[in-house]
């Protein structure tokens, strides 16, 4: 489980619990509650009792059955004392209105909204929307898909320090490049500017020392520059070429966002949408994509358009069962690399069972993004690697830290590893004789239970 530090830390107070009000107890809300309940006081507001009850029984959180877009309901929920306000219902307008009321009731609380409308995100970036943080499920999903297409073997990619540092999880396949396999790490020819953060074998993570070896079947966590991450990708799956041809199934909001992002990266995108009007709307919106009005399960269509030869296929059909069938069918027709957008949490397992390579859960990525923000501002981003057992911390070194002035090789290992430091806005991938300085932004990989230790010493 994650640990989260208080909002007071940013003003130099000792860590304290935060009061957090969450509007919306759907999948996003539940995921946020799950991540934050242990360390903070949570109140969840939703109009549907059935969504609130499981949360109330499972976690120690307050629940209120009310409309989050009502000022009185918010006042009753005690928004006035809240440190953090999160509006994460599936409806943009409710989130916006709830946030506006929260601003009035609690002018000092930090506010976060979830929205599916890219225009609102743009408005927020321009500073014209009075919220502290806005997250779009569609956009986050598209980024997740795009990252995994950019590096084919990657399970999950996270970006730090404005894209200068990437943390990528790879499955090590049979037939990976022998330059890195079955060799002690200190002898292997690892890509420059990268480190192996961790090796996950038999569900246990080891923070590898120089004598450790990478074996096929392992899952490894690598930190490095974007170039290094790509180099790792081709080392581990050398036969896979750069992806230039992707088929997207489903032209809903998620599918469209994915297609737009991929097309912007100069990837040829074909999009398949069964609804005629929707297909037309997508075609008007995305002139650079080829849009087909067909179902993903029309065998004649798949054969005629040679869908099986696509380098990768993304499945973003709204219904999980349909999506799953389409993905399996595409695999039957020879698509080697399949990425599915899943909606139900359990679907992830189903997709993996049937051989879909990557799954992305829009609500999961949205919750993750919101939790990141709820985290200590010193820890600017949190990647939830491997469920919740490992964590990547991104934090600034305090001048009082006992590690300042030490060379990396002299630091005692305590179940954590510094993968990269950002100094004066530039990413450095430290060697053993580099020295840690006060004010360095460090990216640390650690087991979740050691997070408080790491925070204390740094």
């Amino acid at each position: 489980m994650h640990t989260f530090r208080d909002a007071g830390a940013r003003k130099g107070y000792p860590p304290a619990r935060m009061r957090i009000v969450i509007v919306g107890a759907g999948q996003v809300g539940s995921t946020i509650v799950e991540a934050l309940h242990g360390d903070h006081d949570l109140t969840v507001i939703d109009v549907v009792r059935e969504r609130l009850e499981p949360l109330a029984y499972r976690y120690d959180v307050g629940t209120i059955e009310a409309n989050g877009a009502s000022r009185r309901a918010l006042r009753d929920a005690g928004v006035g004392d809240a440190d953090l306000f999160i509006a994460c219902t599936s409806r943009d307008e409710v989130n916006l209105v709830a946030c506006s009321f929260a601003r009035v009731e609690a002018p000092h609380a930090t506010s976060v909204i979830r929205t599916s409308n890219v225009e609102y995100i743009d408005l927020w970036r321009e500073g014209r929307l009075d919220v502290d943080f806005a997250v779009s499920s569609e956009l986050e999903t598209a980024h997740a898909v795009s990252r995994s297409i950019g590096i084919p073997a990657a399970r999950q990619t996270d970006v730090f320090a404005g894209g200068q540092v990437q943390i990528v999880e790879f499955d090590v396949p049979e037939g990976a490049d022998p330059a890195v396999i079955d060799l002690p790490l200190r002898e292997a020819k690892l890509p420059e500017d990268s480190r192996v953060f961790g090796i996950i074998r038999d569900d246990t993570l080891t923070l590898p020392r120089g004598s450790e070896t990478i074996r096929p079947g392992d899952r490894i966590v690598v930190i490095g520059s974007p170039t290094a991450a790509r180099a790792w990708g081709s080392l581990l799956s050398p036969e896979e070429a750069a992806v230039k041809d992707v088929v997207v199934f489903g032209g809903g909001q998620v599918g469209t966002a994915i297609a737009r992002l991929l097309a912007a990266q100069d990837i040829g995108v074909r999009l398949i949408e069964p609804d005629r009007d929707r297909a037309r709307a997508v075609a008007e919106e995305l002139p650079e994509c080829r849009v087909y009005n067909a179902t993903g399960v029309d065998v004649d269509f798949l054969e005629r358009e040679l869908i099986g030869r696509a380098q990768a296929a993304v499945f973003a059909i709204k219904d999980d069962a349909e999506n799953h069938y389409a993905a399996t069918l595409a695999r039957v027709y020879g698509v080697r690399f399949t990425i599915a957008v899943v909606h139900d949490t359990i679907s992830t397992k189903v997709y993996e069972q049937s051989g879909v390579d990557v799954t992305v859960n829009p609500r999961g990525v949205t919750a993750e993004e919101i939790v990141r923000f709820a985290h200590d501002p010193r820890t600017q981003q949190v990647a939830m690697l491997e469920g919740d057992r490992y964590e990547v911390l991104d934090m600034i070194t305090k001048p009082t830290s006992e590690y300042v002035g030490l060379k990396f090789r002299d630091m005692p290992i305590r179940g954590a590893m510094i993968g990269a430091i950002v100094r004066d806005g530039k990413a450095i991938f430290p060697r053993s004789d580099d020295v840690l300085q006060a004010g360095d932004r460090v990216i640390v990989f650690t087991e979740t239970k050691r997070v408080p230790d790491v925070e204390r010493v740094l």
């Binding site: 037309r280 997508v282 075609a283 002139p287 080829r290 849009v291 087909y292 009005n293 358009e305």
Partner: protein, 515 residues
């Protein structure tokens, strides 16, 4: 108790309505248009007074048109309600017919023998307002100056559109005007320059007037500085009045042949400018956004067509030894610009040019200039859209499920508009063929020698509002030898062509008139 209940059957059942449109109201509005248009006779009247020429052709024409107009307007007073969408077609079509008749009056009332017959006068009047430039007058110089000015002025008035003018200056029409505006202004879509149609119409007309004045000034300077001693002030105003509307009437029997090369280049330049969409010209010249023209897909294709056409013709002229050097270039550019934009000026009698050039000439009559300019014919944007529709059809043959909206300048074009474009092109070609066949058949019954090329050129030239055809009706000739029937056919073609086919054709359908 009766099994039916409710209010009693009304005492009187209304009589069945047969006619679905408000004819009275449409006639009334047409009358208003005509009455205001009759004021335009004041300009040649002033000219006649100045040159001490007979004034009564213009007094008479103005009086008759004014009286008929006011009479019709009176008729419309008893119309039940405002003019609607359907009546618009009748108003537009009738207004243009009456305008042509009005233009014919001074010719009939004068003692000019070349246009003394009603059919000839009407042909000349329609050719004027529709900016075609086909003429039945052989000896132009024999005309009175005031009558000559009237002939030029009719083209200038017709260029930007009578109804657009009416919308711009009339105090208030009882209609929104958008639909009539659209059916008169060439092209499938109308660019709005302002929120209100009236302001858009005003801006278009002001720009049109300003460009005419600039051209007049340039020609005047060319004349006064001695660069061209044929270009006196009257010639300058006369040619400025027919260049900007892409009309083609010349006050000189040899068109622009005897004018100096510099005059020909200037006129060619202004024909090319007048062929650009006026909304774009407004953006470029008034709002100072010249890139609006450079980025517009239609304007770019228009420029490319002018260049390619000129290059092909120029190459053949040099190769065949007809002209050499600057003259070959000038003749090619001038003739190509003139025929493609539908102006109809000429600097040489191209009737005897070699085959490829003649084919290019006839082909260019079907091209036209940009939508939103005073040009005739099919117009560049329709060619562009038809090309894209065909490309999409070819792609969809291979990928039947492909959804591909057609874009113009980055914006998708409505499928309904695309259908209208296809329908327009097919109707246009159909009417052109019918016209050519009628002319050919009629030539059998009259003593006119009309070959296939000439029949095709005459039909294309009048339907496309270009003007000169080939053979005896070529740029230095006249349409006088045609029979009366042929002249009526060609006047109809000009009318249909100017109003872009559909407004006239819907009047011929039963559904238009019935409830």
């Amino acid at each position: 108790m009766s099994p039916t209940s409710g209010a009693d059957r009304p005492e009187r059942i209304r009589e069945r309505t047969y006619v679905g449109i408000d004819v009275r109201g449409a006639l009334g509005l047409t009358g208003t248009m005509l009455a205001y248009l009759s004021l335009s006779a004041l300009i040649p009247l002033a000219c006649a007074i100045g040159y001490r020429e007979p004034i009564w052709p213009f007094v008479g024409a103005g009086a008759i048109a004014g009286a008929v107009g006011l009479g019709l307007q009176r008729l419309g007073r008893r119309s039940p309600g405002p003019i609607g969408f359907r009546e618009g077609y009748l108003v537009v079509s009738l207004t243009w017919l009456l305008a042509a008749a009005y233009a014919a009056l001074p010719y009939l009332l004068s003692d000019e023998r070349q246009v003394s017959r009603p059919v000839d006068a009407f042909f000349e009047g329609m050719s004027g307002f529709s900016t075609t430039g086909a003429t039945v007058i052989v000896d132009v110089e024999a005309l009175d100056r005031s009558l000559l000015l009237w002939r030029q002025l009719s083209q200038w008035l017709g260029g930007m559109g009578i109804i657009v003018l009416a919308l711009a200056v009339l105090p208030r029409l009882r209609i929104g005007g958008r639909q009539m505006f659209e059916s008169e202004l060439p092209g499938p879509e109308v660019h709005q320059l302002a929120e209100r149609i009236r302001d858009t119409a005003r801006r278009l007309w002001l720009l049109y007037i300003a460009l005419t004045l600039v051209l007049f000034g340039l020609l005047l300077v060319i004349g006064l500085t001695g660069l061209d001693d044929r270009m006196d002030p009257f010639q300058a105003i006369a040619h400025a009045l027919t260049t900007m509307p892409l009309g083609g009437f010349s006050s000189d029997a040899r068109s622009l042949e005897l004018f100096a090369p510099v005059t020909q280049w200037v006129v060619a330049l202004f024909m090319a400018i007048a062929g650009v969409n006026f909304a774009l010209l407004y953006l470029a010249l008034v709002r100072r956004r010249p890139r609006a023209v450079a980025r517009d897909e239609e304007a770019r294709l228009y420029g490319a067509m002018l260049l390619i056409g000129s290059a092909v013709v120029c190459a053949e002229l040099i190769h065949a030894g007809v002209f050499a050097g600057e003259e070959a270039l000038r003749q090619a550019v001038f003739q190509v610009t003139s025929l493609m934009t539908g102006t109809g000026f000429a600097t040489t009698n191209y009737v005897s040019w070699p085959t490829v050039s003649i084919m290019a000439m006839i082909g260019l009559m079907f091209v036209g200039a940009s939508a939103g300019s005073p040009t005739g014919s099919v117009k560049i944007v329709r060619h562009l859209l038809v090309g894209r529709i065909l490309r999409r059809e070819l792609r969809q043959t291979i990928h039947p499920e492909l959804v591909q909206p057609i874009r113009l300048n980055g914006r998708t074009v409505d499928e309904r508009t695309l259908r209208a474009v296809l329908a327009f092109v097919l109707l246009y070609i159909g009417i052109f063929i019918i016209g050519a066949i009628l002319l050919a058949i009629d030539s059998r019954f009259s003593s006119v020698e009309l070959g296939m090329t000439e029949a095709i050129a005459a039909s294309a030239g009048t339907l496309g509002n270009v003007g000169p055809a080939l053979g005896f009706a070529g740029p230095m000739g006249s349409y006088a030898p045609f029979s009366d029937f042929s002249k009526v056919v060609m006047a109809s073609l000009m009318w249909i062509g100017r109003l872009e086919v559909l407004p006239v054709l819907v009047l011929l359908t039963r559904n238009y008139w019935r409830v």
